[in-house]
Structures are given as structure tokens and as C-alpha cells.
């Protein structure tokens, strides 16, 4: 092996330093925990990151911040690659007890009768454990608690007692009940500071006739060299989609390149007019920016995957894989975002919409990588008003893949009495082989007065721009009707928002006190 490369990773597992050398690059964390470490508390429920039974918590240093701060992130270990644990600390359900005494979260779930068959329970415990260690300035709302738990499926309880425990944890923290991880705070930071990988990792393995290798470069320079050498490489960061190629499809992926160690891809760059989010920025890390500038887009992000997925999944990955049902592309398209691609040959910037050529094909050369997405900030003028609206329609509100997604960015002239649309950008996901603008509808609405009829005309025009397909998520007729109604709904969102209720946000149980969660009454 070349001296510039290392074939080992170091990480902490439940407080213990682990060194692993020369393992199969496609080893998932879950299989490693269960088969190598014989830690059987984390369960496989789906092996695709959708049920949360395998949830563990990764403690790492928050790379978006300049000072060393710990972040506790719940992740789906079933689709997390072992190689990505390098330099991190992973905590599994087995480590929560201290000297045989259960963690307050565990105790709370018992007291609330929060387990029945118990198979999902360790996953819930770990999601709640991450929440316990992610304090927020204000107690979490019931909506936020649902967000924490959206990635954990339970088939037995109906969730009441689990939500009850989640609500009580906020109270536990306010009473300063600590656990062993609180006590070890400084030590954990120190350990992580010392285990930052310095060399490029190279793992390779041969299965039969196929060889597989994984590179983990530590600089963009190395990344560019690797991509020049391996133009067919699969680039991963969160790998929330590629993880499934491995666990479900057994795809041959001869070369994987993991971006997670490249610092220059991990820090957002904010200016007065835009923000640039590089390849490693996860949904979770991007949320503060959107909460501040485009709250409706932040709410859309909260409906992508689950907390576990958003903790590792990246915006750029959602764009780069070119899915027609990725949720970020339509939203970012209508905001006029640009995508920045880099390679050893240089850098280029294109409008995001131009990146999607057709189904399965994007405008990325083999040696290029998506460096970042650049998103303009809202315009600040007194004469114009900008609305950003996004509607995601799926069978289930949380953690579901889009049937139809509409994103709208509409600018209205407020200088005259009759409000006119100065600019209207509408894009859809789930309606074609790529995320697409509704060109005819945009043409009808641009420079038009805001009338119910104009929006009705725009809605009618969708059948000229789109002929969606029928599949397990929705029929073609529903997709088209729903898309048309979403366009009609824009009118009301602008002129009479109070007449609307966004049912996806009517999701929160009553949290005034924990007893109202279930209002359960028993007679003895």
C-alpha cells in the first residue's frame, strides 16, 4: 500500500477505542455491530433506513462550527457504512445503562408501558437519547417531537406511551437529570479531537471476480485526482440512497469515494445575497439557514426522510442522484439556485434546472463532483413581495417518498393597487422523468394580475406540460388532478391564507401536559 494511504479506521464504540483494518468496504454498521461485535440490541427491521429499529447515535464534532461542539445524531445503522465511522463515536442501546441502572429514557418508557413486542424499542430509545442530548432553547413542541420519532416505526403501541415519554424527557432535562455522557462531555470532545483522520483511507476487497474499493480522501485535491483515475466511481457522503444499492440491490460498485472527511466540503459559505451549501451539508445542518430565509422550505425539508436520514443525507446528494422524486430540486430550482461542479479541470456553474437532462442522466462529467448548491436569499424590497410555497403530497405525511411535489416562487408587485405577478416560477417533482418547470403555467401567470381565473387557467395548462405515470405511489390521474389543485391553491395562499389549513402541519398531539396525549383512563 502507498504510504499516503491508510487501511484502518479508528472510532469509539460505547466508550471503547476500536481499530478496524482491511474490512469489506461495503460493510454496514448494523451488520458489523450484530455480527462482529455481537451487539444484538440494534435490530434489522427493513435494511433500507425506513423503520428505525437499527437506530444508533453517532457522537461527532460539529464541522459546521468553528469551535468544537459535540453533536449527537441518530442514524440508521443498516445503511450506514462502517468506513464512515472513522474518527467518530458510536453509541448503541447497550451502553445506556450505567452500573446496571437504566437511563432515564429507558426508565420512562417502562413506566409508560411504551413497549409491547419490543423489537422497535431500542431504536426508539436511541432516537430519544439523541434528542435528550440535543437541547434546544425552548422545550420542543409536539410537532418537533413527532419529527424526532418519524423515523421509528412501531406496529404495536399506536405511539401514545412513546410520545408521552418523549414529552417527559424535556422535563427530565429541565430538572438537570444527567447521564454518563453528560459527565464525560469534555473527555468525549478530547477523544474526538485526537481521532481526526489525517490520511486517505483505502479499503479494498475481492468477492469472487469482483473487486470493491473505498477511498476516503481528506482534500478536494485528492478527490479530484481520484476522480480522474476512477471516472466511474460512485461518490457518497450520507449514502442514504447508495446504502440501499448495497443492501437491497447488491449492485456492483467497484469504487466508492466518500467525501465526509473533506473539510472544504463541510462548511456553508454565506454572503448578503446567497448561501452556498457544499456537498457534505446535511439536511439537518441546512435547516437553520432555511428556517431563517425560507421557512416553508424548511418545513418541506422536515418531511424528507426522517431525522435519521436528514442527519446524514445531504442536499447535494439529493440533487446529484437525479431522482425525479427528489424533494430538493424543484424547490431549489424555483429559487433560482445554481449548482457548482468541480473537477481537476476546473469549476463550472450552471442553473440547477439545466443539470437534469432526462431520467437517469445529469449534466455531470465523469470526473466532476457536485461541489455545492448556491441558493439566492430572498430579495429585500418594499415594492415587491416574494412568496415561496412548497407542497409535498405523499401517502403518509412523515418519511414518505413524494407522489407530487410543487414548489413555487412568486414575486408580486406591491407598488400599484392591482397586485400583479412580476415573476412566477413553478416546478414539480413526481410529474415527469426529471424535476421540471411548469412552463405553460408560468407563462400564463407571469406579468398577470392575481385572479382566481388566472390560476385556474394555469392549472388547466399543466396537462400540456406533464403526462405523469401511474405507480405504487399514485395514479397518473391523481397526480395531474392534485398538481392542478396545488396550482389553484397558490391563489388562496397569496390572497387568503387564513382560508387554508395545511393538514401536514396539523400533526401535533396535544402536549399541554403529558396526560392529554392519550387521556387514557382505566377502571379498576
Amino acid at each position: 500500500m502507498n504510504n499516503n494511504y491508510s487501511n484502518e479506521i479508528q472510532f469509539y464504540l460505547n466508550g471503547e477505542l476500536i481499530i478496524e483494518t482491511d474490512f469489506h468496504p461495503q460493510t454496514t454498521v448494523l451488520n458489523y455491530l450484530r455480527e462482529q461485535q455481537k451487539l444484538k440490541g440494534s435490530k434489522e427491521g427493513c435494511a433500507e433506513g425506513d423503520c428505525g429499529a437499527c437506530t444508533a447515535v453517532i457522537i461527532s464534532l460539529d464541522k459546521t462550527k468553528d469551535t468544537d461542539a459535540l453533536q449527537y445524531s441518530a442514524v440508521n445503522t443498516c445503511i450506514q457504512l462502517l468506513a464512515t465511522l472513522d474518527g467518530k463515536h458510536i453509541v448503541t442501546v447497550e451502553a445506556l445503562q450505567r452500573d446496571g441502572i437504566l437511563h432515564p429514557i429507558q426508565q420512562s418508557l417502562i413506566e409508560n408501558h411504551g413497549s409491547q413486542c419490543g423489537f422497535c424499542t431500542p431504536g426508539f430509545i436511541m432516537s430519544l437519547f439523541a434528542m435528550y442530548h440535543s437541547p434546544q432553547p425552548n422545550a420542543r413542541s409536539s410537532q418537533e417531537i413527532c419529527d424526532v420519532l418519524a423515523g421509528n416505526l412501531c406496529r404495536c403501541t399506536g405511539y401514545g406511551p412513546i410520545l408521552e415519554s418523549a414529552a417527559q424527557i424535556e422535563a427530565l432535562r429541565h430538572r438537570n437529570i444527567t447521564d454518563q455522557f453528560d459527565a464525560l462531555h469534555n473527555q468525549l470532545i478530547e477523544q474526538l479531537q485526537h481521532s481526526k483522520p489525517k490520511k486517505t483511507l483505502l479499503l479494498s476487497s475481492k468477492d469472487g471476480d469482483n473487486s470493491t474499493q473505498l477511498y476516503k480522501p481528506v482534500s478536494e485535491q485528492q478527490l479530484q485526482n481520484l476522480l480522474t483515475e476512477y471516472p466511474k466511481a460512485t461518490i457518497i457522503s450520507g449514502a442514504t440512497d447508495v446504502g440501499l444499492w448495497i443492501t437491497k440491490q447488491f449492485r456492483e460498485l467497484p469504487t466508492l469515494i466518500y467525501l465526509g472527511e473533506i473539510t472544504s466540503l463541510s462548511k456553508p459559505i454565506e454572503t448578503d445575497t446567497s448561501i452556498t451549501l457544499p456537498a457534505n451539508i446535511t439536511y439537518q445542518q441546512a435547516l437553520p439557514f432555511f428556517d431563517k430565509n425560507y421557512p416553508n422550505l424548511a418545513n418541506l425539508i422536515r418531511r424528507i426522510g426522517s431525522t435519521q436520514v436528514r442527519n446524514v443525507g445531504t442536499l447535494c446528494g439529493n440533487i446529484a442522484n437525479g431522482s425525479p422524486i427528489g424533494d430538493m430540486p424543484p424547490a431549489l430550482m424555483v429559487l433560482g439556485s445554481s449548482i457548482i461542479l468541480k473537477s481537476a479541470r476546473g469549476e463550472r456553474r450552471i442553473a440547477l434546472a439545466d443539470f437534469f437532462i432526462h431520467y437517469g442522466q445529469q449534466d455531470r462529467q465523469a470526473d466532476e463532483y457536485v461541489f455545492a448548491i448556491e441558493i439566492p436569499k430572498p430579495k429585500k424590497t418594499t415594492t415587491e413581495q416574494q412568496f415561496f410555497i412548497a407542497h409535498k403530497v405523499s401517502k403518509r405525511f412523515d418519511q414518505d417518498i413524494t407522489a407530487v411535489l410543487m414548489a413555487v416562487n412568486i414575486t408580486i408587485d406591491q407598488s400599484s393597487d392591482s397586485a400583479n405577478i412580476l415573476d412566477c416560477q413553478i416546478a414539480f417533482g413526481g410529474m415527469a422523468g426529471t424535476p421540471q418547470y411548469a412552463h405553460k403555467a408560468m407563462k400564463i401567470l407571469n406579468n398577470s394580475p392575481i385572479t382566481e381565473q388566472n390560476f385556474a387557467l394555469a392549472a388547466d395548462s399543466l396537462c400540456q406540460d406533464f403526462s405523469p405515470m401511474s405507480d405504487q405511489r399514485a395514479s397518473a390521474s391523481y397526480r395531474l388532478l392534485c398538481a392542478q389543485n396545488l396550482v389553484r391553491k397558490i391563489y388562496w395562499s397569496i390572497t387568503d391564507p387564513d382560508s387554508l389549513i395545511e393538514v401536514d402541519k396539523v400533526s401535533a398531539f396535544n402536549i399541554d401536559n403529558t396526560k392529554t396525549i392519550s387521556n387514557a383512563e382505566v377502571i379498576l
Partner: protein, 779 residues
């Protein structure tokens, strides 16, 4: 009456001073192991290093002639030890429960997409899965039957059509002032137990086989493994400590996985494990039966049923499995809580080229009840009456309107009381008006509210299954071990049975060790199903406990020279006239005096009988009852919906463990909501199930729970029959409380339609956003 404070681990003891007697709130016996990750499921058992892993190869067609299976590339794949085909089966190539039509491996014809054709044994799970994809199979595709009605039209039935009849329904309908006919489509449902199907088989001496199986029916699994391997029942042991959920999906379907693991172990003479990947679990295991319902109904000006004919066309899939009993149960429950007068219910078990559908919580009952509630709603709409009024007018009573379509006389009908209580506590009448007002002032969103009853018959309708055994040991140190034939899948059976034993012996439940269900300890067990687990096994355990108690009483009477009736078990002690000694001390004395301290207990449900030829009898020992009121909100642009509030009142008799029962009620309700709203099974035109993982099949998440859920156990609940401590079965009935959600959605749809001057319609299940929006827009 007290509001449960879930943070209290125990509360004042209502019946005795011991900890963990009956009626007490006791935690699930495994709760601390669930939360700590220490509970051991089948896949968590540490296995010997030479353990092998099995995986199956599946049909790529819904219906095809299999010309050739070439496994050359499978055998040469990395890590592969051997393959298994039908030729490796020493016994019979059949894993079915009853009918003999479920081949372990299909040989000549593949009857559904995903049907197992062979298996591969490898050194790792991953190697086995990868190798299974290397087979080269030559098929000649055949045309496939993909709907129940198509199967019926082709005269393909997996069991004979069957009717229940009372009076002359045709005549009654024809003579009724009002007549309606119609059709309802009811979707299926995947069980989605979080722990997928799995079995681990270990060869023992004499060619015996020990199987750890995730099964609800250890005895049948034992028998099927024996049948496939060519062994007697006494050469196979099946054990199950716990399942990560079952819901009926492991009542028969676990047999297949156990048979495959055991076949591999028999062939290789090594321990072998077969764990299905989630996608394959969806493809190769049965689900709740989709049904098409056709009906004709006659009713009077008051909306009272005069005559009713219902035909159920069940999509059974390629084989019979339990379909006959499931379709029967749909018919048994097509009356729900209503006196139907003259009625004829007919069930057709239709063949389709799909996986064979099987048990799922409710076992056909939900489909039957949904059909009836759909009809009631149509009657209300036709007469312009409030649906609750129509419901109440049609309820059974305990006097004259009390004969069911299967000629059982009801003597303990309580749904009227429960329905009235829910209507009151949920403030139904005022909220109906509030919903009307809301809908008049809101154009873009609509609300709906509905209230529905549940009356669910408890007992296996196959009478002989209503039997159970238990085995109780008291060791010389006074510690107690209980074993019984029921399985634990999360429903809290083990702790309930332990509470029964604790109560009987008057010792703390903590002194009782609960052990894994094991066919070598209890033979001939029935499936843990039909909501009967605690009824049957609790009674068997009580029988065993009473036997030992009597022995100890007689021994103590003799030893201390007092009357047996003066030997009283109380609070971990034995009162002996004026003195008392500890339970442990008496037990030790009994042991030293050679008193046998082990007993078996047995129970069979009394009073039930049924003649299927005439469709008459008393198939159920009693009924469990409940009612729910739900209010929903829909977005008229997209059809998306939310349940704003649900009020539930459910009758569990006198609860053995209120916390466990409440968990069943809440959980069952939310699972039922899933069935009726977002859980959609979708096959493409080739008969391939495309919703085969949680990414595409959407069970409820935390935020789908109603915003407000008021859930109560019925204060007056007491089983009129002599069930175990007068409790009632609770596993299945609460699922059907979710019908209230479905009909509230239908009402909201019709509110949206009314605004567009459209006539009211009925919706099909599941009520996805798509169903609802298309219903609003339908002309």
C-alpha cells in the same frame, strides 16, 4: 374511576396485598429487556460458528410453467455450501396448515410472483442472498388471475362457497319500502411485524430437529416441520420465547420458514438459520384478504333493516391457507352490532395468482363489519337521517331482536350502552353541528365525524381449537415456574398468565419465572390467535395452580392438624389457623414430605358448538364490545387528511391488567386506521406487488396518531360468562374501532361534494389521499 398515571409503576392493590395479582397495572414482563436491548429474539441468539444461512430463490412470474431450474451458478457462487430443491424433501412438499396446497418449493408451476422455487445454503446471510439471484430459470408465462372477481368468474375457488341464512331475505328485500344495492372494495393489509419471519434449526441426535421459530403456532410448526422432514411430532421440538410482533402473520406463515431452516439443517447436519429480508417477507407471506362485497338491502322508513343479502368475494391468493375460516368470520361479523332480520351472507374463497392471504388481527371480521357499516351509512344518507340514529335503531337487544344470522341468541348485548356512552362523552351531537357549521364556512377544508360500534365474537370458530394446557412447577426453594401453550408477541400474554398464577398462589408475580413456549413442555397447543390467548391459557394455568394449591392445602392440614379450609394462601404466606408460615417454608416442607410440586392444567371453552352444514350454533363463548367516535379534516385540494380527535370506549370485561389492555386498544385502533387510510397494497398489471417495503408501504407513524385520543376501558365491563377472572379477549376487537375514522372521512368527502352540488357517494378502502380526492371529484 381514575385517570391512569403512567409514571406510576404500580398502584393501590385492588384485590390483595401481593404485587402483581390480577387487575393490577403490571409492566410487560420483558419491558426492561425491551428498553435495554437485552430481549433476545430469534436472530439475536448467539449461534455456533458453523451455523449456515439459508435463502430462497423466487418465481419471477405471477403464473408460469417452470421448464427448468438451472442452479449451476448458484452452486458456484461465493460461500455456497448446497442448494435445496423439492428433491431434497424426505417427507411431503407441503407446509400448509390444513389443505395440503402450499408447496415448500413449487415444482411444475409457479402460482404467484415471488413463490419460492429453491433455496441456497451458504456460510453467511449475505452470500446466501446474493447466490439466490444467480439461478437461471426457464419459464413459460401463463395468464394470471389477479382479482377475486376474476377468480370467481373462472370458477376458481380455494374452498367451497358457504352461506349463513336466517329467514327469507329475498322476499324481505322485495317487500321493503326502500331497497339499495351496491358494491364495496376493501383493500388488504400487510401485518408488518417489526421482526420479520425467521427460524433457526439445530439438528439433534437421532435425527431429531430443534427449531427456534418466530411462530404464533408452535404445535403446527412442529407438525409441519415433521411432515416436510419425514419425522414424527415427537422428533421435532419448536420453541419460541417471543416474537417481534405477529398480528396473525405468523399463525401459519411461520411454518414455511421453519420448514426451510429445518430442511437445510437436515441436509447439512449443521445449525441453519433462515431470515427473510423485508422485501421478500412482503412478497412471500400472506396478508389480510382484500374483499369485494356485493349487497342488496331492504329497509323501512325508519331505516330499520328488513332484509339483507351480502356476498363476499375474498382474494385468497393461490392456496386455501385459513381462508375458509377467515371468510366465515367475515360473515359472522357482517351483522356487526345490528339485528339484520332476514339475511343471507355468502362467502366465496376466490383463487388468484397472488401470495396466499392469511390471518391478520380480526381474521375477516373487519371486512364483514366494514361492509355492514357501509350499508348503514347508505341507509342514513338515503333517508337523510343521522347515521348514529340509524345505528341505534338497528342494534340488537337482549329480548326479541337478538338472533344472529348464524342462529345464536344473544343474552349479553351491551353495545347499546357503550355506543350511548361514547356519544355522550364525545359530545357527538354538538360536534355534528359544529362540523356542519365548519363545513359551511370553509371551502378548502372539510371535516367529518362518525361514530361506530364493534361487537366481536370471541372463540376459535373451529370448536376443537378452544383448548389449552399449562405446566406449573414449584421448586423446593419456593420459586415458581410457569409454562403454557400461548406465545408472546408483545400482547402481554405471559405477564397476564403469571398474574393469574400469582393471584391463585397469593405470591408476588416477581417470584414466578415465565418460560418460553416449547412443544416439548406443552403438546398440541392451539395457535395464539382469535384474541383467545389469555382466556385459554390463563384458565389452564389457573387449573394447574389450583391443583398445586389443593395439594399444599391438604398437606398443610395434615401436617398442622387443621381443616384444609383453614389453610389460607394470603400475601406470600400461608395462614394456618392462628399461625402462619411463608410460602417458601410450606413448599419446602411439602417437598421433604414427598408432595409432588408440579402440575399440568387444562382448559376447554364450555358451551360452544357449531354445525357448519346448517350454519347454526353458538360459535362464540361471548362478545367483546366497543365504540369509537372520530373527527377528521381533509384538504379538498389534495385529499390529504388528519384525524383530529378520537374517543374510544372499549369493553375488556374485568381487566386482568389495565395497562396491557389499554395498550392493545390504542395500538389496535391505530393499526386499524392504517388499514383504512394509508396502507395500500399495490400490484402492477403483471401481478407483482410493488409495495413491498416500508419505503412504499406506509404504516402509521407517530404523527398519524389522532391529535387527541381519549381512550377508556369500559367501567361496567364484566364478562357474563365465567372467563378468567371475568376478563375479555382484547387482541383483535379494538382494530375495528378505526371504522369510525373511515366513515368520518366519507362524510368529509360528501361535505365537499355537497358544496359542488354533487350527490353523496361511498368510498372504497383504503381511504388514501388519492381515494378521497378522486371521490370528491367524481361526477
Amino acid at each position: 374511576m381514575s385517570t391512569i398515571n403512567r409514571s406510576a409503576a404500580s398502584i393501590n392493590l385492588p384485590t390483595s396485598d401481593i404485587t402483581g395479582g390480577v387487575r393490577q397495572i403490571v409492566n410487560h414482563d420483558s419491558a426492561h429487556k425491551h428498553v435495554s436491548g437485552e430481549a433476545i429474539y430469534c436472530d439475536d441468539i448467539n449461534t455456533p460458528a458453523d451455523t449456515l444461512h439459508v435463502y430462497i430463490g423466487k418465481s419471477e412470474h405471477a403464473h408460469a410453467t417452470i421448464n427448468n431450474i438451472d442452479l449451476t451458478d448458484v452452486l458456484t457462487a461465493e460461500g455456497v455450501i448446497a442448494v435445496l430443491t423439492a428433491d431434497d424433501i424426505a417427507g411431503k412438499n407441503d407446509w400448509s396448515a390444513i389443505a395440503g396446497d402450499d408447496p415448500v418449493f413449487a415444482t411444475d408451476t409457479a402460482q404467484y410472483h415471488g413463490q419460492p422455487l429453491f433455496a441456497v445454503i451458504a456460510t453467511s446471510h449475505l452470500f446466501a442472498m446474493k447466490a439466490a439471484r444467480q439461478a437461471k430459470i426457464d419459464y413459460t408465462p401463463l395468464s394470471a388471475i389477479l382479482t377475486a372477481k376474476d377468480g370467481f368468474a373462472a370458477n376458481r375457488l380455494v374452498a367451497d362457497s358457504h352461506s349463513m341464512q336466517i329467514g327469507d331475505s329475498t322476499n324481505a328485500i322485495n317487500n321493503s319500502p326502500y331497497q339499495l344495492s351496491g358494491e364495496l372494495e376493501i383493500g388488504g393489509q400487510e401485518q408488518f411485524y417489526l421482526e420479520g419471519q425467521i427460524a433457526y434449526a439445530r439438528p439433534a441426535e437421532d435425527n431429531d430437529m430443534v427449531v427456534i421459530s418466530s411462530t404464533q403456532h408452535p404445535h403446527e410448526t412442529q407438525h409441519v416441520v415433521g411432515r416436510v422432514l419425514g419425522l414424527h411430532d415427537n422428533e421435532v421440538v419448536v420453541k419460541v420465547r417471543r416474537m417481534g410482533g405477529g398480528f396473525g402473520g405468523k399463525e401459519t406463515n411461520g411454518n414455511f420458514f421453519a420448514a426451510i431452516a429445518a430442511l437445510a439443517a437436515q441436509k447439512t447436519k449443521k445449525p441453519c438459520k433462515f431470515r427473510a429480508d423485508r422485501d421478500d417477507d412482503f412478497l412471500i407471506t400472506g396478508k389480510r384478504h382484500p374483499m369485494t362485497v356485493e349487497y342488496q338491502v331492504g329497509f323501512d322508513d325508519e331505516g330499520i333493516l328488513q332484509g339483507l343479502e351480502i356476498n363476499f368475494f375474498a382474494d385468497c391468493g393461490y392456496s386455501a391457507d385459513l381462508s375458509r375460516a377467515i371468510v366465515d368470520r367475515a360473515m359472522y361479523h357482517a351483522d356487526n352490532a345490528y339485528f339484520c332480520g332476514n339475511s343471507t351472507f355468502t362467502g366465496h374463497c376466490c383463487y388468484t395468482n397472488k401470495v396466499s392471504n392469511t390471518a391478520f388481527r380480526g381474521f375477516g371480521g373487519p371486512q364483514g363489519m366494514l361492509a355492514m357499516e357501509h350499508i348503514i351509512e347508505r341507509i342514513a344518507t338515503t333517508l337523510g337521517a343521522d347515521a348514529l340514529t340509524i345505528r341505534q335503531r338497528n342494534l340488537y337487544d337482549n329480548n326479541h331482536r337478538n338472533i344472529t344470522p348464524y342462529h345464536m341468541t344473544l343474552t349479553d348485548f351491551v353495545s347499546d350502552e357503550i355506543l350511548a356512552e361514547v356519544a355522550e362523552s364525545a359530545n357527538y351531537q354538538q360536534r355534528v353541528q359544529a362540523v356542519l357549521d365548519y363545513n359551511q364556512t370553509h371551502r378548502h377544508t372539510k371535516k367529518g365525524i362518525a361514530i361506530t360500534p364493534v361487537k366481536f365474537g370471541i372463540s376459535f370458530t373451529t370448536t376443537f381449537l378452544n383448548q389449552a394446557s399449562a405446566l406449573l412447577h414449584i421448586y423446593s426453594d419456593g420459586s415458581v415456574m410457569i409454562n403454557q401453550g400461548g406465545t408472546e408477541m408483545g400482547q402481554g400474554l405471559y405477564i397476564k398468565v403469571a398474574q393469574v398464577v400469582a393471584e391463585a398462589l397469593q405470591i408476588d408475580v416477581g417470584k414466578i419465572k415465565i418460560t418460553a413456549t416449547d412443544t416439548s413442555k406443552i403438546p398440541n397447543t392451539s395457535a395464539t390467535a382469535a384474541s383467545s390467548g389469555a382466556d385459554l391459557n390463563g384458565m389452564a394455568a389457573l387449573d394447574a395452580a389450583n391443583k398445586l394449591k389443593t395439594r399444599l392445602q391438604n398437606f398443610a392440614a395434615e401436617q398442622y392438624n387443621i381443616q384444609p379450609e383453614d389453610v389460607i394462601f394470603t400475601n406470600n404466606h400461608i395462614q394456618l389457623g392462628d399461625s402462619k408460615i411463608s410460602f417458601e417454608a410450606l413448599v419446602n416442607q411439602a417437598y421433604l414430605n414427598r408432595i409432588p410440586l408440579s402440575a399440568t392444567g387444562f382448559y376447554k371453552t364450555p358451551a360452544i358448538y357449531y354445525d357448519r352444514e346448517t350454519s347454526k350454533g353458538r360459535p362464540f363463548y361471548y362478545f367483546a364490545n366497543g365504540a369509537a367516535c372520530a373527527e377528521v379534516l381533509i384538504d379538498c385540494f389534495t385529499g390529504e387528511s388528519r384525524v383530529l380527535r378520537a374517543d374510544i370506549l372499549h369493553d375488556v370485561g374485568k381487566s386482568l391488567n389495565p395497562a396491557i389492555d389499554l395498550g392493545q386498544v390504542e395500538g389496535g385502533f391505530v393499526q386499524g386506521m392504517g388499514w383504512l387510510t394509508n396502507e395500500e397494497l399495490w400490484w402492477n398489471s403483471k401481478g407483482e406487488l410493488r409495495t413491498h417495503a416500508p419505503s412504499t408501504y406506509k404504516i402509521p407513524t407517530a404523527s398519524d396518531r389522532p391529535l387527541t385520543l381519549n381512550c377508556k376501558l369500559w367501567r361496567k365491563g364484566r364478562c357474563a360468562e365465567e372467563t378468567i377472572h371475568r376478563s375479555k379477549g382484547v387482541g383483535e376487537p379494538p382494530l375495528m374501532l378505526a371504522m369510525s375514522v373511515f366513515f368520518a372521512l366519507q362524510k368529509a368527502v360528501n361535505a365537499a361534494r355537497a358544496e359542488q352540488q354533487k350527490t353523496p357517494i361511498s368510498i372504497n378502502s383504503p381511504a388514501t389521499a388519492e381515494t378521497l380526492l378522486l371521490a370528491i371529484n367524481q361526477s
